[in-house]
């Protein structure tokens, strides 16, 4: 029977090989990065591939993953949010200073996120209503937030995060980090909502052709505004989780988070406006970035080498992304 099937089977294999090739190109670059990382860590630091270490990586990926998701959301609508670094610093300040001291656990989580959404609303107002450049507005906002936090925290000893926030940042249910559960639940819920909802449709068509969206009666300004608010909420949640993980006040935290968020979006295989690709790529991107960091720490790379490697990965990802865009 195997003999009689040879010819069609071969033909099928060939065409499926070709199909596999095009399918591979459509995959987000983050998958390839992870495959490389697994190979490298198996060769050099095999212990990293063990489950407990994978869980550590997952926990570290959570704040980054949320901010990548936030960036992805605005970039799908042809906008950008460069204030996420400032938001992270502000979140850290709110969680570790005495401002929220003594409030119920839920509020300690929710209030900072709401503050982040107010910041998103201000960004959104400038970008959507006044039609200012999103790059300039959010960059300025990031700078304002950073200065604001420096002003408030100057001359004071750094505080420390409350137990609840720390628990969110480092706690586990079984072996699964709580931060990872929050991250994955929030991003997947967002993705499902974007796929099914009218709002998601608005974001998609605005990203596809803003001009045509406006001429189809899509509420472009309203959608952009909402997107900035929602995105800032996700960034804020990421900031709170990172503050909980670090456990204490810091004004250095989050300075490179803007870069990381954009790197994550590119690794996830998403370019401006082309909001078709799945969130999975972005989730894997966050994981890949955390993985790289851990491998380099295990191999005792210094800070300069880490920066160089991180930059190289982003270069490579953008090359892969442009090649696959040309092919499709």
């Amino acid at each position: 029977m195997a003999n009689t099937m040879t010819t069609p089977a071969t033909a099928e294999r060939q065409s499926s090989l070709a199909r596999l090739g095009t399918a591979l190109l459509k995959l987000p670059p983050s998958i390839f990065v992870i495959v490389c990382l697994v190979v490298v860590s198996l060769a050099l630091v095999p212990v990293l591939t063990k489950l407990p270490f994978q869980m550590v990586i997952l926990r570290q990926a959570a704040p980054v993953g949320l901010v990548i998701c936030a960036q992805l959301l605005v970039m799908r609508a042809n906008s950008i949010d460069l204030s996420v670094g400032g938001v992270f610093i502000l979140m850290n300040y709110l969680v570790t200073s005495s401002v929220l001291h003594g409030l119920p656990d839920g509020l300690v989580l929710v209030l900072p996120v709401l503050v982040a959404m107010v910041i998103g609303a201000i960004n959104g107002f400038f970008v959507a209503v006044l039609r200012s450049s999103s790059v300039v507005v959010t960059l300025a906002m990031g700078s304002v937030l950073m200065g604001f936090v420096l002003l408030l925290s100057s001359g004071r000893p750094p505080g420390s995060a409350g137990d609840f926030i720390k628990w969110l940042g480092v706690g586990k249910i079984g072996i699964v980090p709580i931060a990872a559960i929050i991250w994955l639940t929030a991003t997947l819920a967002l993705e499902v909502y974007l796929r099914r909802s009218v709002y998601g449709r608005f974001v998609r068509v605005i990203g596809s052709n803003t001009n045509a969206a406006a001429l189809s009666g899509i509420p472009v300004a309203k959608t952009l505004f909402t997107t900035h608010v929602l995105s800032a909420g996700f960034a804020g949640l990421g900031g709170v989780l990172l503050a909980g993980y670090i456990g204490m006040g810091s004004v250095k935290i989050g300075t490179d988070i803007v870069m990381t968020s954009i790197a994550g979006v590119i690794l996830g295989g998403i370019t401006f406006g082309k909001g078709q690709k799945s969130i999975i790529g972005a989730i894997l991107a966050a994981y890949a970035l955390a993985y790289v960091f851990n491998i380099m720490t295990a191999l005792k790379f210094g800070e300069p080498a880490k920066l160089i490697v991180q930059g190289m990965i982003i270069f490579a990802a953008s090359v892969v992304a442009s090649v696959s865009n040309r092919k499709t």
Binding site: R196, S197, V198, Y199, G200, R201, F202, R204, V205, S208, N209, N211, A212, A213, A214, L215, S216, G217, I218, P219, K274, Q276
Partner: protein, 520 residues
């Protein structure tokens, strides 16, 4: 005189030649076995309906496209024109229908864009101005070359484009509808220039569907239809009637015929609409069941007028009455909610989401109709898309195909269907059949007439004057932001429309403000 010239030219070696050239985009064959050449000192007209393949031919000659089959010969040698810069270095200049000048730069900078004379590594401005002035003087054009291009009238811009093409020492000049923005006296001036160029031995390919002009200027005429060469004749040996017949062909579905319009309730009344600098004192009405045309040349501000009505532009004074009630739509969304539809002119940049599916495009203007509590209903979307595909007989591989992969005609149908499915009381359509083939054109016209018969009020902005005459009940003619006339389409001819649109005929009476529902 022409035949003598033709005979002389016939002995010369072609400057540029298409030899059995075919061109396909994906599985869409747009040209098939084209034989075409242009010789020194001749004007060779390329005629055909929209979608016949004229622009693709020019694209092949100018290095924008590569032939799928056949070869291109330049001075008798097989040549690959892989880019426009290659075309330019071969001595081929081109002026497209859409002007390609940089508006903020001045005339001289535009003409020598990227090739400015330099001195010590910086642009030599006096030399640049001197050269540009000298070049324009050859055309008898005395304009200040340091003026920004967007301050020039459209007709002068057209000349600047041609000058730019010739500044490359072109031996062949490709012109795509060069007179579409010109008034009759400007056309005369342009023709003088073209004749002067042919005396210098330059060969000109002249694309147009304007018969009268073609027979005034062309030495030879090639007719294209559905991507094939139908004939190539000396202009003196053929006639307008023959060329038109060849352009249309036997398979032509014919012009739509307007059923007797009996007059309905007034849907739209515009009085003294003004936005200084754009348009002034615009007044007209559109009734239910009526198709009113708005004709004009490029730059007549028709688009600004209709967009201000649907909430996409500014108006400083004047009134808009919709169903008899005074309205000012703050946005297109408001206008849509009131029952207005608007199909924009540019389908690629304004009308469609090219990398989205056909069904997603179709429902983009009626998302609320296909959603419950903020969530989309996939089944209802699919059903609606299939209905529209059947109603318009859209040629597609399925409703999930990307709109960008469809042909122009099918894209146009999708854009129209997207608005018709909202069943607006008033539909404003810009250029409903721009760049579509005759079959699609017929279908679009039929659909517009059907909607009008069902009571929709339709306002069509078009530069296609024959289309207007056959489709509309009344035609408004606009020239430089002013209404020049409000004609019964039965009395309008292509010529009168053109004269009015060019501003050469002033209306004897003020354009009427009264309801014209007496037209039957």
């Amino acid at each position: 005189m022409f035949s003598a010239m033709t005979k002389r030219n016939a002995e010369k070696e072609p400057l540029l030649q298409l030899d059995g050239v075919g061109k396909s985009f994906g599985h869409n064959t747009v040209l098939n076995g084209i034989d075409f050449d242009v010789r020194p000192g001749e004007i060779h007209a390329l005629c055909g309906e929209n979608g016949a393949g004229k622009s693709t031919c020019l694209g092949l000659l100018y290095g924008l496209h590569q032939p799928s089959t056949g070869r291109i010969l330049c001075n008798g040698n097989e040549t690959r024109i892989e880019s426009t810069s290659r075309a330019q270095s071969l001595g081929i200049g081109c002026v497209f229908q859409e002007l390609s000048l940089a508006g903020a730069l001045n005339v001289a900078e535009n003409i020598y864009a990227g090739r400015a004379p330099t001195r010590f590594g910086v642009v030599d401005w006096p030399e640049l101005r001197r050269r540009a002035t000298a070049l324009l003087a050859e055309f008898g054009l005395d304009i200040d070359v340091s003026r920004p291009v967007d301050r020039l009238p459209i007709s002068s811009r057209q000349i600047v484009e041609i000058a730019k093409a010739l500044s490359l020492n072109s031996r062949v000049l490709l012109l795509d509808e060069p007179t579409s923005a010109l008034a009759p006296d400007e056309v005369d001036a342009l023709f003088e220039i073209l004749r002067a160029l042919t005396r210098k031995g330059i060969g000109i390919v002249y694309v147009s569907h304007h018969m009268a002009e073609i027979f005034r200027i062309a030495d030879r005429i090639t007719v294209l239809r559905d991507g094939r060469c139908i004939s190539t004749m000396a202009a003196s040996e053929t006639s307008k009637e023959q060329v038109v017949a060849e352009m249309i062909g036997a398979a032509h579905p014919g012009d739509v015929s307007r059923a007797g319009y009996v007059g309905g309730k007034e849907v739209l009344r515009v009085s003294n609409l003004t936005n200084p600098g754009d348009f002034e004192d615009i007044s007209f009405t559109v009734d239910a069941g009526e198709i009113v045309g708005m004709a004009g040349l490029m730059g007549a501000r028709r688009s600004e007028i209709v967009r201000s009505i649907v909430g996409l532009g500014r108006v400083t004074s004047g009134k808009i009455l919709f169903h008899g009630a005074n309205v000012t739509f703050a946005s297109l969304r408001r206008a849509m909610r009131a029952g207005v539809g608007f199909v924009p002119e540019e389908r690629k940049t304004e009308g469609l989401f090219l990398e989205q599916s056909l069904s997603d495009n179709l429902i983009a203007a009626s998302l609320s109709e296909h959603s419950t509590a903020g969530l989309m209903r996939a089944k209802s979307i699919k059903r609606a898309a299939q209905t529209a595909v059947e109603a318009f007989s859209v040629k597609t591989n399925g409703v999930s195909e990307n709109v960008g992969d469809l042909s122009g005609g099918n894209q146009q149908k999708i854009m129209l269907a997207k608005w018709l499915k909202r069943a607006p009381a008033l539909l404003i359509v810009e250029e409903p059949t721009k760049g579509v083939d005759v079959g699609a054109k017929f279908q679009i016209h039929t659909e517009l007439l059907r909607c009008a018969a069902e009571g929709m009020a339709i306002l069509v902005v078009s530069s296609d004057f024959p289309e207007m005459v056959s489709l509309c009940t009344r035609i408004l003619v606009v020239h430089e932001g002013r209404l020049m006339g409000d004609l019964d389409a039965a009395e309008a001819t292509e010529d009168t429309l053109l004269q009015m649109a060019a501003g050469t005929v002033r209306p004897t009476t003020r354009p009427c403000h009264t309801n014209q529902s007496g037209i039957a």
